[in-house]
Symmetry: C2
Subunit: 360 residues, 2 copies
C-alpha cells in the first residue's frame, strides 16, 4: 500500500489537570512548549509523523473549545482536517468518528492513532517502528497497539502482557492490566513479558470499524446512523446533534480488551507520557542541584530534587526546598511536595468549589 | 505655640531590600498597600499625622526616582512639599535639608520627623503621644526621640536606655545601643530601662540646626553655604549641585548620640517598623492555619507558619510548607524559610551579579 493511503489521527482534547496549574483547561499541556524547544507537544506530535504520512492525511480531533489553539499552532492544516467534538466522551467515540470520517474519504486507509501530549525522544526509532507497524496492519487483519519496553516499575501506567511471537517485534496480546500495585509492577518488569500501554494504535479503517461494530455496537451505531452524512457538508450538523449522545468509554475498554485480533509491537523510542510531575522530573535533564526547570530561571540555595514550571518568563529564587513541585501560571502558584502530587486533583476540585472556574 | 508652626517631615527614599521581591527598588515597601487596606504605608503615614499638623506643613523627602509615586499617592500635596534628593546620603543630610528648608519658611517651627514605612496600629495613642512630644520640645531645649516599650527581646532594633525622669513619659537618654545579641536583648527587656529606637524625632528647627552645626559641621556646612538659596527658586539647583557631596551618615550617629540635650518619650502605640518578614509575620493577623497572607488568596494544606505576599491578585495553593516566606512579584518568586531571611540580602546581590538590575 502506498503512503497516500496512510493517515494519522492525533487526539488532543484532554484537559491535562494533573499538571495544573502549569497546564490549564484553557491551555492544556498539549498546547504548551513543555520542553522549551519552541514547539508545543501537539506541534511535535505532527512533526514526528510527517516522514510517514502526507500532511493532508493528518486529522486532529479536539474539543471545540480548543479550535483556535489548534488553528494557531498548526496553520498548515485545513479546517476539514480538524474534527471538533461538541462534548468530551473519552477515546472510543473520538476514534470512531475519526475512522468513519476517514472511511468516507478513503475506505482502504490505514491509520495511526496517537495522543498529542506524549514525548518521544528518539524520532528515528519511532519512524522505523511506525513504518513496520503500518506494514503489519496492512498485511494482517490486526488491531495493533504499541507496547513500550518498561524501564522502571511504574504504577501509573497500564501494562500489556505479550503472548505468541508473530514476527520481529510483533506479538499477540495475552492480557491488558490496569495500573498495578508496586510489587506487581516490579514482577512485571522482571519477567520481560510486560510492556507499557502507550495509547498509540495502528489499524486499517475497515478492520477497526468492523471491530467497533462487533464490540461496541452502541458507539458504532451512532455513526452508522449518520453514515450518509459523514464526509458531506452535513457531517458537522450530524455530529453536533448526535455525538453528545454517545456513551463515554475508552477505546481500550470498548474494543482493544475484547477483540480477538489484537497485537502488540514492542518498541523502545524514548517514550514518556508526561502523566505525572514525578515522571517528568525523572525523565528531564537536571541541573547541578538535581533540580528540573521548565521555562524559568531558578536561583536555588539548599534546594534539590525540585521541578520548577512556569508559564511566562520568571525568576524563581528558592532556599531550603527539597523534592517539591513549584508551578506558576501567572494568576496561580502551586507549591506541593512531589510525593503528594496525587493530591493535586483534589486541590483542583477544592479550588473549583471555593473559587469557581476562574483558576481551572 | 499654635498648630500652624507645627511641621511633619516624612522620609520615604528607602529601597526596602529586606522585603525583596515583594518590595522592589522600583516600588519600595512604603509605596505598597502592605496591609491590604487600600492605603499604602506612605499614605497611612500622612493620614495619621493630619490631626496634628496642617496639610500644607507636611514635607516629603524622597529620592528623585520616586517623585512620580509620591505625586500619584499624595495628590493633595503641592510640588514644593516634596523634596527630591539627587542621591542617597542616609538620614542626616536628608533631615538637615528638610530642616533648613522649613527654617527658611518658618524659623520658629517645631517638627516631627518620621519614616514612611512603619505601621502604627493605635492611632489615638499616637496622636496623644505626638501632641505631648510637640509640647515638650516647644517648652524645652530638647531633641526628642520616641522610644517604644519593647514587647520581645528583638535583636534587630537599636535600644535607648532611659536616664533621669523628667516628667510623665519623658526621660533623659543614658545610652544608645545598636542591635544587641539575644542574651543582652533579654536583659534589656527585663530591666524595663530599655526602649526600642523608633527613628521618630521631634524638635524645634532652631534646636536641631544648632545641634547639626555643633555635632555634624560637615553636614550643616553644606546647607549653611546655601542658606541664601534655600527657600528660593534656586534651592533645587543648589541641592542638585551640593547634596551629592554630603557625607552619608545617619542622624543617630551624626547628632543624637552626641548632643547633650537628647530626651526620650516612652510610648506604646502598636508600632512595628516592618523591618523583617518575621516581624511582619509576628504582628500580623493570622488565619486558622497560622499563615499570614498579604494581598493573596491562599489554599493551604499541611502548611502553617508561612507568610504569603503577592503584588497583584493571585491564588496560591500550597502543600507541606512550614514557616516559609513566599513572595511573588510578577516576574520574581521568592521561597525562603523565615529562619533564613537574613540570607535574602545575599540572594538579592546574587541576582544582581548574575542577572543585572532587571529583577531588583
Amino acid at each position: 500500500m502506498t503512503e497516500k493511503h496512510r493517515y494519522c489521527v492525533i487526539m488532543c482534547g484532554g484537559i491535562g489537570s494533573r499538571f495544573w496549574p502549569y497546564s490549564r483547561s484553557s491551555r492544556p499541556k498539549q498546547f504548551i512548549d513543555f520542553l522549551g524547544t519552541g514547539r508545543t507537544l501537539l506541534q511535535m506530535s505532527v512533526d514526528r509523523i510527517l516522514p510517514l504520512v502526507p500532511k493532508e492525511n493528518i486529522i486532529i480531533v479536539t474539543n471545540e473549545q480548543y479550535a483556535p489553539l489548534v488553528r494557531e499552532q498548526l496553520p498548515e492544516l485545513t479546517d476539514d482536517q480538524i474534527l471538533l467534538e461538541p462534548a468530551r466522551r473519552n477515546t472510543a467515540p473520538c476514534i470512531a468518528w475519526a475512522m468513519y470520517h476517514i472511511a468516507a474519504r478513503d475506505p482502504e486507509a490505514s491509520v495511526i492513532v496517537a495522543p498529542s501530549d506524549h514525548i518521544i525522544t528518539r524520532e528515528n526509532l519511532f519512524i522505523e517502528s511506525i513504518g513496520r507497524g503500518f506494514e503489519f496492519v496492512e498485511e494482517n487483519d490486526a488491531l495493533l497497539t504499541l507496547g513500550i519496553k518498561p524501564t522502571r516499575p511504574e504504577t501509573g501506567y497500564g501494562y500489556i502482557q505479550i503472548g505468541r511471537h508473530i514476527d520481529g517485534d510483533f506479538y499477540s496480546v495475552k492480557t491488558f492490566t490496569e495500573k498495578p500495585r508496586r510489587e506487581l509492577a516490579e514482577v512485571f518488569v522482571e519477567t520481560g513479558e510486560f510492556f507499557w500501554n502507550s495509547g498509540i494504535f495502528l489499524w486499517r479503517v475497515p478492520t477497526i470499524i468492523r471491530e467497533l461494530r462487533n464490540n461496541a455496537p452502541d458507539v458504532a451505531g451512532v455513526f452508522d446512523r449518520g453514515i450518509d452524512m459523514i464526509g458531506t457538508p452535513r457531517e458537522l450538523e450530524f455530529i453536533n446533534e448526535n455525538f453528545p449522545g454517545c456513551m463515554s468509554i475508552s477505546i481500550d475498554f470498548a474494543v482493544m480488551e475484547k477483540a480477538k485480533n489484537v497485537y502488540v509491537e514492542c518498541v523502545e523510542f524514548g517514550w514518556n507520557d508526561l502523566g505525572t510531575w514525578s515522571a517528568l522530573y525523572d525523565t528531564s535533564p537536571k541541573n547541578r542541584d538535581a533540580n528540573v526547570t521548565q521555562n524559568c530561571n531558578v536561583l536555588a540555595y539548599n534546594s534539590t530534587g525540585n521541578i520548577f514550571a512556569v508559564n511566562g518568563e520568571k525568576l524563581i529564587v528558592v532556599d531550603g526546598l527539597k523534592d517539591y513541585i513549584i508551578a506558576d501560571a501567572g494568576d496561580v502558584l502551586l507549591i506541593c511536595p512531589k510525593a503528594e502530587e496525587q493530591r493535586i486533583k483534589q486541590m483542583v476540585n477544592d479550588v473549583h468549589m471555593s473559587l469557581g472556574d476562574k483558576y481551572l
